[in-house]
Subunit: 332 residues, 2 copies
DNA sequence: ATGAAAGCGCTAACAG
DNA sequence: CTGTTAGCGCTTTCAT
């Protein structure tokens, strides 16, 4: 069997309390004792049982992450940041792939409760009321990444989507474009949908450009819908010279359609994306896009969670975005 | 405080033993009792403590996954399959991003030991001897996905890389290509490197085609190296008409370079990739490639792990690959 | 069918 | 500086 703290105590000729003390380096033992204990630990190949620790203490050093779908460039980058920060701070994370399925999410929340995680990070999930209530019930700190809740009970960490969209559009305007279309995501999405659309419209308006509804098409953020949206835009072409696309994946789709239609980017039409996932450097030509600091969002989100677990107050944070210029936008 | 089994027992006027029985639906209680208990549980909002359970029982229903880097299309898809299978079978997974760093890996193994996971899945990691030894030390079942260990102590699950490469090359040959180059990964990689290179050579040989060393260039599987490799190939062009590329990312890089160089794919040169990640449908033109069933690999790997945990014997499994024809290969 | 009681491995008073 | 002891919440004999 695996050696326990008792075995160590016996071997080192001390009490379990003493072993526990050196294990948690709390004061109360001589150097000699420490040496004896350490030796015993080493010889026995002893490893503390985290379950027992968690049972008596209050911390498990385990965190839960609820994420819609890990096989997704955005999610996985955020996850990467979360994981790195967790590991550096001596915590583990249980990953919960919710598939945006409310049912599954609720089940997961119970699991996390039973496993007594110290805190929870919610990534990109729309927070329904039921969801939020249950989260509160769990009575552990919660941090939201790249999402928000209307009630404002949980701190979130994201970029300023509206402002980013505004700047992306202004960037196009600064390049001389006047007839700028947008491939938007679902406007019901209060993070990546509506705000980006609003930012786009605002930029046009404030620059004295007309907002034409026929220049705005809606996709679902993914590649295929990007292709489709581009087709629609091309069909009722109103002489647009540039497009602001609400995600890199849709932008890649738009690029594909443009290519198939014999439209050259950026010669005939300029495109700016949103996200700056790995995909952005792989498209032909490489995609100019608004970069979101996904890794940092995850990393910082986890740090905040840890802070909250320690009982400190934490506030929401807006991280800076930046436009990465590549080759899909040209001056007109 | 959170209600415990004692609270439930008290409220239902039974002993904790009885509550435990209905909780684990073991025999030994009347329908009435069950009802009382269930009601108490409901009213109290009781949730069992998994730590306590794990401490006394031997199972934690928690698994560990060691993966080089989750923000990677291949890894994340495998992870997706793992997670799905785990959740469906009432288990959680702790994700361990090793960054291919031996040090980090060793630390993680200790964490998994301390948290008493029931089993471990290793994804895409080169298994050093030290690594393997520690894995054995943990004394929990281990399954390897998309990797192998020379000692053959652990069951693995992957595709037949050599055969897949062989078929990819033969596919090109069947399309009339005779001068076929290869962009290989690192030949030290015993899964995605050497076997694929061997398969390529074998196909050429068995079809009476010469294996020319100048037609083989080596990258590191990633996009940038794909671009570079393509440049090298184009520079000392020996009239090649097709290329077998050992990963989709490198293939995408090759496509970029081709485009920049004014080489049309597939008109001037045909390309077949390997992996069939999401990227393959997003390239211009869409990439013909060898599809690996990543999701299934993860899903099945986890099922095997569960089987092993139950004490049953499990064997390695080779999953089928298939060539997905898209638009980067043409008949010559 | 049900209860009492002995731990699982550890931490944290409380005594010396 | 060190040991004793009482749990943490649960499962599991062993009785009844």
């Amino acid at each position: 069997m695996k050696p326990t703290i008792k075995d160590v105590a016996r071997k080192a000729n001390v009490s379990v309390a003493t072993v526990s003390r050196v294990l948690n380096n709390q004061p109360g033992y001589s150097v000699e004792t420490e040496k004896k204990v350490l030796e015993a630990i080493d010889e026995l190949g002893y490893h503390p049982n985290a379950l027992a620790r968690g049972l008596v203490g209050k911390r498990t050093k385990t965190l839960g992450v609820l994420i819609p779908r890990i096989s997704n460039m955005v999610s996985s980058q955020i996850m990467n940041g979360i994981e790195d920060a967790a590991h550096k701070n001596d915590h583990s994370v249980i990953i919960c792939n919710t598939d945006n399925d409310g049912q599954k999410t609720m089940v997961y929340l119970d699991v996390l409760r039973e496993k007594r995680v110290d805190g929870i990070i919610v990534v990109s999930e729309m927070l329904t009321e039921e969801y939020a209530n249950k989260l509160v019930e769990l009575k552990v700190p919660v941090i939201l990444i790249s999402t928000i809740d209307e009630t404002g009970q949980f701190p979130h960490i994201k970029v300023n989507d509206e402002q980013a969209a505004y700047q992306a559009t202004e960037y196009l305007i600064s390049k001389g474009h006047k007839n700028i279309a947008m491939i938007s995501g679902t406007p019901e999405d209060m993070v990546a949908g509506k705000p980006r659309l609003d930012g786009y419209k605002k930029a046009l308006r404030e620059n004295g450009l007309p907002v034409k509804e026929e220049n705005i098409v809606f996709g679902d953020f993914w590649f295929d819908s990007g292709k489709e949206c581009m087709e629609r835009l091309l069909n009722n072409n109103q002489g647009i010279t540039a497009i602001f696309v609400a995600s890199d994946e849709m932008a890649a789709g738009a690029l594909s359609t443009a290519y198939k239609s014999g439209i050259r980017v950026p010669e005939d039409i300029s495109i700016i994306g949103f996200d700056n996932t790995q995909l952005a450097e792989m498209t032909i030509p490489p995609l100019t896009t608004v970069s979101q600091p996904f890794y940092q969002m995850g990393y910082k989100g986890l740090k905040l969670l840890l802070k909250a677990i320690k009982g400190k107050e934490v506030n929401s944070a807006i991280l800076p975005h930046v436009i990465v210029e590549r080759e899909t936008v040209k001056k007109v």
